[in-house]
């Protein structure tokens, strides 16, 4: 269980997060939506403890994350960023192995090697194994990084502690097929492994279709949170995004179509 307990965060005198209190349950896919500048990425970074909140606290299983060491936290908290650049030639397998860094001291053990093999096969990136990461396309890179992040959270039997996965705009460099594919895999992973999963996405349709739980941010505050149908109402979308949605029913479910004004 992840708890944001009345957190506020500001830079200078600009408030980026204001009195945010939300609970995130394991096994569910939580997606944060909101217009540009609403504080989505800041919230992810505070929840993942890259940034410390000015007031309030973030609690993992009832423990304030400020009390946990970086090395300890890295064993059960992973973050997938928008894009990862590497300045040097690095093989894909070496990059995925970095996910195991928090779990071994000097050199990877057989268990780490096995987890890397397993995860890479699971996410269809084994074919890239010896490729130089720099030569991959944006979509391929994101798949590889997804594998890295899951390698970090993979159960190796040594600990039963709750795990946390954060996704900071992971869809930015993916085409629509890979976006759908990616969200499906995340949802399946979250449900199957009991990981607390929180992500930021821009596309309301994708959020509505794949999220178990949506947090709507606007001007540094949580406007609403709950299931997609509870949160994404016509009036709220109009208020927060300044566009007029029309709900269209199709074979693949409910869709939002937007008119400006």
């Amino acid at each position: 269980m992840l708890l944001a307990n009345n957190i506020s965060f500001r830079v200078g005198n600009k408030s980026l997060l204001s009195e945010i209190s939300v609970t995130f349950a394991p096994g569910k896919l939580h997606l944060i939506v909101g217009p540009n500048g609403a504080g989505k990425s800041t919230l992810i970074k505070v929840l993942a403890r890259l940034l410390r909140p000015e007031t309030g606290s973030v609690e993992y299983e009832g423990v304030d994350v400020a009390q946990v060491s970086e090395a300890e936290l890295a064993k059960r908290r992973a973050v997938l960023s928008q894009a990862v650049d590497v300045a040097f030639p690095l093989s894909v397998r070496e990059l995925v192995m970095m996910g195991r860094y928090p779990h071994f001291g000097g050199r990877p053990g057989p268990a780490d090697e096995q987890i890397v093999d397993e995860v890479m096969a699971h996410f269809d990136v084994t074919e890239f194994s010896s490729r130089d990461y720099q030569t991959l396309s944006g979509g391929e890179r994101q798949r590889v990084n997804f594998a890295r992040v899951l390698t970090q959270l993979w159960r190796d039997g040594s600990s039963a502690a709750c795990r946390y996965l954060f996704l900071d705009e992971p869809l930015t460099f993916l085409d629509i097929r890979h976006q759908i594919d990616f969200l499906k895999k995340i949802g399946t992973f979250a449900a199957a492994s009991d990981v607390v999963t929180v992500g930021v996405v821009h596309d309301l349709n994708l959020a509505a279709r794949f999220a178990d739980h949506i947090v709507l941010l606007h001007e540094a505050r949580v406007v609403a949170h709950g299931t997609p149908t509870e949160v994404l109402t016509s009036e709220r979308i109009q208020d927060v995004f300044g566009v007029t949605p029309t709900f269209v029913e199709s074979d693949s479910g409910m869709h939002l179509v937007f008119g400006v004004g």
């Binding site: 890259l50 973050v79 990862v84 090697e113």
Partner: protein, 344 residues
């Protein structure tokens, strides 16, 4: 991972063998060439109960040997320093000579020679390397302070190189001034500081540089995994459990110490730290554990070869070694700058 690992072990073993070969060549050839048996006899003369070494043997033992060993150590220091700087800045175009560390260290050493006599300090063995470290810290700090963007506090590579250029010019002109007013013969030699030379090598220097090189490289190797994590970005490294600020301080300190101590005894030798990590990455990838160990060996090999060229090309005189390293290093640097692959 098994396959590249094995080939990296092979590479490191090969580099070790080459290091020993160039060391042997460096002892054998010079203003006077020594045969293997002469070298053997000179070493044997050190054993108890043997007659005093003759003049040739003393040249070998007191000049040639320490010079060859010091060259290995300084090359290793500069190679490791280059690897650490490139890992830290996530950019393959930086090295200690370019960002002011070396010229600051040379300035600190020159100050020591000029003021040491006046202030009656400098009796201790460690005063010179400490003065060099202080100079290196000051110039490095100055570069990072001036290169930092006012907006987000980060130093871009362009700013770093330009500021490095300015700070280098500042410290080299300060060294020029010190050479002008100095009485001490070593401080008077401006070429010593600006072009580098191993002609002043002594066993005392070897002792000190051995300590800084071995300890510095050992510490760097301990942090190789964290430096690897840094390859994917500071934020990502934090998520992998790395205390990035602490890592930066440790690596910067190690770099300043190993480079400054080496510079104290040889002057500024540029471009070794730039070229060495590149050669290694081409051969065996970017894993820092391999790079740090490999750059110690490759730095030692390259500097020893440069020293051989410096000594043999105009025998019985010799060139400042910095001329040789720059002649090789500058084209490589320009080539790297022209390559589009690297983002500034």
């Amino acid at each position: 991972m098994t396959k590249p690992h094995r080939s990296r072990h092979v590479l490191l073993s090969a580099l070790t063998v080459v290091t020993l070969l160039v060391l042997a060549a460096s002892i054998r050839f010079g203003a006077i060439d020594f045969s293997i048996s002469e070298i053997g006899r000179a070493l044997a003369s050190l054993l108890p109960g043997r007659p005093e070494p003759n003049l040739d043997q003393r040249i070998l033992l007191e000049l040639r040997f320490p010079r060859a060993v010091l060259c290995l150590l300084v090359g290793a220091s500069l190679g490791v320093g280059g690897t650490l700087m490139q890992a830290l800045f996530r950019n393959p175009i930086v090295e200690p000579g370019l960002v002011g560390t070396s010229s600051g260290a040379a300035f600190g050493s020159a100050m020591f020679f000029v003021l040491g006599g006046v202030l009656h300090i400098g009796t201790s063995l460690w005063s010179l390397p400490i003065a060099a470290c202080i100079g290196g810290v000051i110039s490095s700090y100055l570069v990072f302070l001036l290169a930092r963007s006012r907006k987000d506090g980060r130093a871009s590579i362009v700013m770093l190189l330009l500021t490095g250029l300015a700070v280098n010019a500042l410290f080299m002109s300060a060294i020029g001034f010190l050479s002008y007013i100095a009485r001490d013969p070593q401080a008077r030699s401006i070429t010593f500081w600006s072009l580098g030379t191993l002609s002043g090598a002594s066993w005392k220097a070897v002792e000190i540089v051995t300590i800084s090189t071995v300890v510095g490289t050992a510490i760097a190797l301990r942090y190789a995994k964290q430096l690897n994590a840094l390859m994917i970005g500071e934020e990502e490294a934090t998520y992998l459990g790395v205390n990035v600020n602490r890592l930066k301080w440790i690596i910067l300190s190690v770099n300043v110490v190993i480079v400054a101590v080496a510079t104290a005894f040889t002057g500024v030798i540029s471009f070794v730290g730039l070229v060495v990590p590149h050669i290694l990455r081409m051969l065996g990838g970017a894993d820092n554990r391999y790079l740090i160990a490999g750059s110690a060996l490759t730095g030692a090999i390259l500097l020893t070869l440069a020293d051989l060229i410096a000594r043999l090309s105009v025998r019985p005189a010799e060139l400042p070694i910095g001329i040789v390293t720059s002649a090789v290093g500058v084209p490589v640097f320009i080539f790297l700058l022209r390559r589009r692959q690297y983002i500034f």
